[in-house]
């Protein structure tokens, strides 16, 4: 990692882009993690067609709202990035705060859905399909929660970092992470929810 106190100036551009590439590689390994969880879900989904099935418990309207919350938060984060490059600190913080609220509502709806499913009897311990469902969607939700924490830290950090390259680099990491989560969500709603409801 970086010696953070030797801020800005003689931070070479080459090392900046190497750092970002390192983060990109982390995202790629995370992709493989999600790929494995998706595969597990698909395999167990084919096998566990009897007994309790996800289909009867799903509410697609909630999922549609979740999808739009995440997509919108993605867009507002991009607006924050644009303002960062225009050197408008307050606007960056405001857009980040909106991104945080959208992401938090996403997690809120997801938790409510999990509680609802568990109350209806579709708990993680009833069959393999339920386990793989909660693992996959839960891992994504956990990632989003970590992203939310990160956004909060970023809002606090920004006034301290000012508009240096360090701030830009960290916002680039966060942006990659946040956009990546939305990309994973495309496959979650397609494979888990839409295919589950078919």
């Amino acid at each position: 990692m970086h010696s953070e106190d030797s801020v800005a100036n003689d931070h070479h551009h080459a090392s900046d882009s190497t750092d970002v590439f390192g983060f990109w590689l982390y995202i790629m390994t995370d992709c493989i993690l999600f790929g494995c969880l998706f595969t597990t879900f698909l395999v167990l989904h084919i096998q566990a067609m009897h007994g309790l099935v996800l289909k009867s418990y799903l509410n697609l309207y909630d999922v549609l709202i979740e999808t739009f919350l995440l997509l919108l938060s993605n867009f507002t984060f991009c607006l924050a990035i644009l303002n960062l490059y225009a050197n408008k600190l307050f606007k960056v913080q405001a857009w980040l705060a909106i991104t945080f609220l959208l992401g938090a509502s996403f997690v809120g709806i997801e938790i409510r859905e999990f509680i609802h499913l568990a109350n209806e009897g579709f708990r993680w311990d009833v069959n393999s399909q339920a386990s793989s469902f909660f693992t996959l969607v839960g891992t994504h939700g956990l990632h989003v929660s970590c992203g939310l924490l990160w956004i909060l830290l970023m809002i606090i950090q920004l006034p301290l970092l000012k508009m240096t390259n360090v701030a830009k680099r960290r916002m680039t990491y966060l942006g990659l992470f946040w956009n990546f989560l939305d990309i994973v969500w495309i496959f979650v709603f397609t494979i888990v929810y839409l295919m589950g409801a078919m």
């Binding site: 990109w24 084919i46 991009c78 397609t190």
Partner: protein, 111 residues
């Protein structure tokens, strides 16, 4: 301002433009609505739904890569990113297709 931009480090994420983000957002919204409508309206056979939602998901995946992650081949950094995502794609394909293939055969033979 222009001079300032030249001094930006290369993050491999290309230029930031509002227009591209808006186009990305609108395209993704439309594709999402198509997917949900296809399943919720119930007017299609299972295979039609299957094809439509997967096509929409893959198009949206590429739109997000291009518009939000700003994947590009214009800079050296961008090309390295593209190489690594292709590599990840190869690994993922072998994991997913391979597992499904094996498990499906197993399932078939056990019946």
């Amino acid at each position: 301002m222009h001079n300032h931009e030249i001094n930006q480090p290369d993050f491999g994420t290309s230029q930031k433009k509002l227009g591209i983000y808006i186009v990305g957002f609108i395209t993704c919204s439309i594709l999402t609505l198509i997917s949900f409508w296809t399943v919720m309206s119930g007017q299609f056979t299972k295979w039609e739904m299957f094809i439509i939602i997967y096509a929409a998901a893959f198009i949206q995946f590429f739109v997000q890569l291009l518009c939000f992650l700003r994947l590009n081949t214009q800079t050296k950094q961008g090309r390295t990113n593209v190489m690594s995502i292709i590599f990840t794609g190869v690994i993922l394909t072998s994991i997913i297709i391979g597992s499904l293939w094996i498990m499906w055969n197993l399932h078939y033979n056990m019946m």
